[in-house]
C-alpha cells in the first residue's frame, strides 16, 4: 500500500503560497513556552465576573459541579475517585488559555476576546490555588506558572512486543 517514491517529482506545484494574512487568524495555538500567546492581559477578579456570566451554568458556581464537570480541585466524597481537573491533572497552564480560546464557551466557541481569555485563565488558576488572586496574567507571566501535575506526566513507554503495559 505504499507509493513508490522514486517516481515522484520533487514538487507537483499544486496549492497556493499561504500569506501572513491567511495564516494569522488561524494560528491561535499556544504552546507551553508561551509561543502563540497574544498581547493583552487579565486578572482573576475580572475573570470571576465573566465566569459567573458565561461559564458557571455548565461548570458550576466557582467552577465546581455543574452539568459539564468541575474545573477546580475538590475533596472527593468518601469512596469516590478524585475528579481530574485543572488543579490536579493539567500539566501546563498555557493549555487553559489555548483550550478556552478555541473551544469555550461550548455553545459560542471563538467568541471571547484575548482579555477575556486571560482573565478566565487567571480566575481558574486562582480558584485552583495556583495563582495569587492579584496577579496579572499575560504572555510573559502565564508560561512561567509551574503546574503540580507536570512532574507526573511521562511520555508513552510502551514498546511493541509481548510486554503488557
Amino acid at each position: 500500500g505504499v507509493l513508490n517514491t522514486d517516481s515522484l517529482p520533487t514538487r507537483f506545484g499544486y496549492g497556493k503560497p499561504a500569506s501572513a494574512v491567511q495564516i494569522t487568524p488561524l494560528d491561535i495555538d499556544v504552546r507551553p513556552d508561551g509561543q502563540g500567546l497574544p498581547a493583552g492581559s487579565g486578572t482573576a477578579t475580572t475573570g470571576a465576573v465573566i465566569f459567573a456570566a458565561k461559564c458557571a451554568a455548565c461548570h458550576g458556581a466557582g467552577g465546581v459541579g455543574g452539568p459539564n464537570g468541575s474545573l477546580v480541585t475538590t475533596t472527593p466524597a468518601p469512596g469516590k475517585r478524585t475528579e481530574k481537573v485543572i488543579g490536579n491533572y493539567w500539566p501546563y497552564a498555557t493549555t487553559v488559555f489555548d483550550y478556552i480560546q478555541r473551544a469555550m464557551p461550548f455553545s459560542q466557541p471563538g467568541s471571547l476576546t484575548n482579555e477575556e481569555v486571560y482573565s478566565l485563565t487567571a480566575y481558574l488558576l486562582t480558584a485552583n490555588k495556583l495563582l495569587d488572586e492579584k496577579a496579572v496574567l499575560n504572555a510573559q507571566t502565564l508560561p512561567k506558572i509551574v503546574m503540580p501535575a507536570q512532574k507526573l506526566f511521562v511520555p508513552d513507554d510502551r514498546k511493541a512486543g509481548p510486554e503488557i503495559h
Binding site: 505504499v2 507509493l3 496549492g15 491567511q22 494560528d27 493549555t95 478555541r102 506526566f153 509481548p162 510486554e163
Partner: protein
C-alpha cells in the same frame, strides 16, 4: 405500522414493512439512482451526546457500512462547503501553502483498509451489555487520500520539525500534537471512505488518518497543520487521552492501539441453542498484523486457534471464526489475539496489575468474557476497576 405483543416488547408500536404475499407474481421496483436498505433491517448506532457506537454484533465481515461507522465528536459535526474548504500547512516549512480540496485530489493517492478505534473504547459494569456497548467505538473503512509525506515534500518540511499540530475545523477546533515522523511514515490526508467522499461524521471533506493510532489523533475536518519542534500540550493530550499508570504517573502520547479482539457472536443479547455454533469476532492491532486469535470455550482453561479470514491486513480488523459444539452446560467463552510483535491480549486483571488501580478507560483492551447460561443466554462478565 402495527401494534405487536412479544415477550420483549409489550404493546410496542413498530413499523412492519408491507410485502406482497408472493413477490414472484408482481413486478418489482425498477432500478434506481441510489440503492436502499431493506426496511426489515433496523441497523442503528448507539448514540449519546458525544459519541455513537457501531453495532458490532449486527455486522458481517470486516468493512463497516459508512453510515454505521462509530462517531466521537467534541462539539458535533460541522457542515462544510467543499468548494470553500482549504488546508493550511505552515510553521517549520520552506513554503507555507494553502491547498483546496481539488488540489489535494490531484496528488498521487493511496487507499488502505484499516480500522479506526477510539482509545476510550471500553465499557463494563453490567451483564446485559452487547459488543456495541462494550466495544462499539471501533470501525473499519477503505480510506483513500494523499500520503502526508507527499505534502510534506511539497511544502518542504524542515528537518528541524519533530512535532506537528493538526487542527480541525469543527466547533471544538480539535487539536492534537503528532510526531512529524508519523507524517513521514504512513499518515494519510484522507478524502474518501469506502469508495465515496468521507461522510460528514467522519470528517468531510478531509481528515487526518493515522493508521493504528488512537482515533482522536486522526483529526477530522482538518483545516491546518503547523510544523513545530515540540508538542503543544493541547487539552486533548493532557486532560484527556492520557492514562494513569503505576507510581502515580500519567502516561501521555500513548498513540498505538494495543491488540484487541472480541467475540461478536454469540454475545448479548442473543440466546443460543445446543449444537454447532460458529463463534465469530473481530481482532486487530495498531502495531501491525494479527498473527493469531485463540478462543476458549471452557472459561480460559484451554485455548484453540480460530480461523482468520484472509487477507490479514496491517492495522486492520480481521474476522475470526471458530466452530464450537455447545452441549448446554454453563461456561464462559472468550477470545485473545496475538499480534505480529508477540503481544498477547491481556485479561482485565493483567491490565490492572500492569497499570495500577488508578488507571482509567483509555487504551483499555482486555479480553471480553461472555457467560453462557444453561438456557442459552449470553451475558457479559462485568469487571471492576476496584
Amino acid at each position: 405500522v402495527a401494534v405487536v405483543q412479544t415477550s420483549f416488547a409489550k404493546g410496542l408500536q413498530i413499523s412492519i414493512p408491507q410485502v406482497p404475499d408472493d413477490p414472484t407474481k408482481q413486478m418489482g421496483v425498477p432500478p434506481g439512482k441510489v440503492g436502499t436498505r431493506s426496511a426489515f433491517e433496523k441497523l442503528a448506532k448507539n448514540a449519546s451526546d458525544i459519541s455513537s457506537r457501531s453495532p458490532l454484533q449486527d455486522l458481517y465481515g470486516t468493512i463497516t457500512p459508512s453510515d454505521l461507522h462509530f462517531e466521537r465528536h467534541h462539539n458535533g459535526v460541522p457542515a462544510i462547503d467543499p468548494a470553500k474548504y482549504e488546508l493550511l500547512i505552515h510553521g517549520q516549512v520552506e513554503r507555507p501553502t494553502v491547498f483546496t480540496l481539488a488540489d489535494l485530489k490531484r496528488f498521487p493517492s493511496v487507499s488502505r483498509i484499516a480500522f479506526l478505534e477510539c482509545s476510550g473504547n471500553f465499557r463494563t459494569g453490567k451483564e446485559t451489555m452487547s459488543p456495541q456497548e462494550i466495544c462499539g467505538l471501533t470501525s473499519q473503512s477503505e480510506w483513500t487520500g494523499v500520503l502526508l509525506s507527499t505534502l510534506f515534500r511539497e511544502v518542504g518540511v524542515k528537518p528541524s520539525s519533530s512535532w506537528f499540530l493538526a487542527e480541525g475545523g469543527d466547533a471544538a477546533l480539535m487539536t492534537r500534537s503528532i510526531p512529524t515522523s508519523k507524517g513521514w511514515n504512513d499518515a494519510i490526508i484522507a478524502y474518501a471512505q469506502n469508495g465515496e467522499a468521507l461522510r460528514p461524521e467522519q470528517g468531510y471533506p478531509v481528515r487526518l488518518f493515522l493508521p493504528g493510532w488512537e482515533g482522536n489523533t486522526s483529526v477530522k475536518w482538518l483545516r491546518r497543520l503547523e510544523l513545530g519542534d515540540a508538542p503543544w500540550q493541547t487539552r486533548e493530550e493532557t486532560s484527556k487521552y492520557s492514562e494513569g499508570i503505576k507510581g502515580g504517573k500519567i502516561r501521555q502520547f500513548s498513540f498505538d492501539i494495543d491488540a484487541r479482539s472480541i467475540i461478536t457472536f454469540p454475545a448479548y443479547p442473543v440466546q443460543i441453542q445446543k449444537g454447532w455454533i460458529e463463534i465469530r469476532g473481530l481482532a486487530w492491532s495498531g502495531r501491525g498484523k494479527v498473527s493469531r486469535v485463540e478462543v476458549s470455550t471452557d472459561a480460559g482453561k484451554t485455548w484453540k486457534l480460530a480461523e482468520l479470514q484472509e487477507p490479514i491486513l496491517d492495522k486492520a480488523h480481521v474476522r475470526f471464526r471458530h466452530l464450537w459444539q455447545w452441549n448446554g452446560s454453563e461456561t464462559e467463552i472468550m477470545s485473545r489475539v496475538t499480534d505480529e510483535t508477540g503481544y498477547v491480549q491481556p485479561t482485565f486483571a493483567q491490565l490492572i496489575d500492569a497499570r495500577g488501580a488508578d488507571t482509567g478507560g483509555y487504551h483499555f483492551n482486555p479480553i471480553t468474557v461472555w457467560q453462557i447460561k444453561p438456557d442459552g443466554r449470553v451475558l457479559n462478565r462485568p469487571e471492576n476497576f476496584r
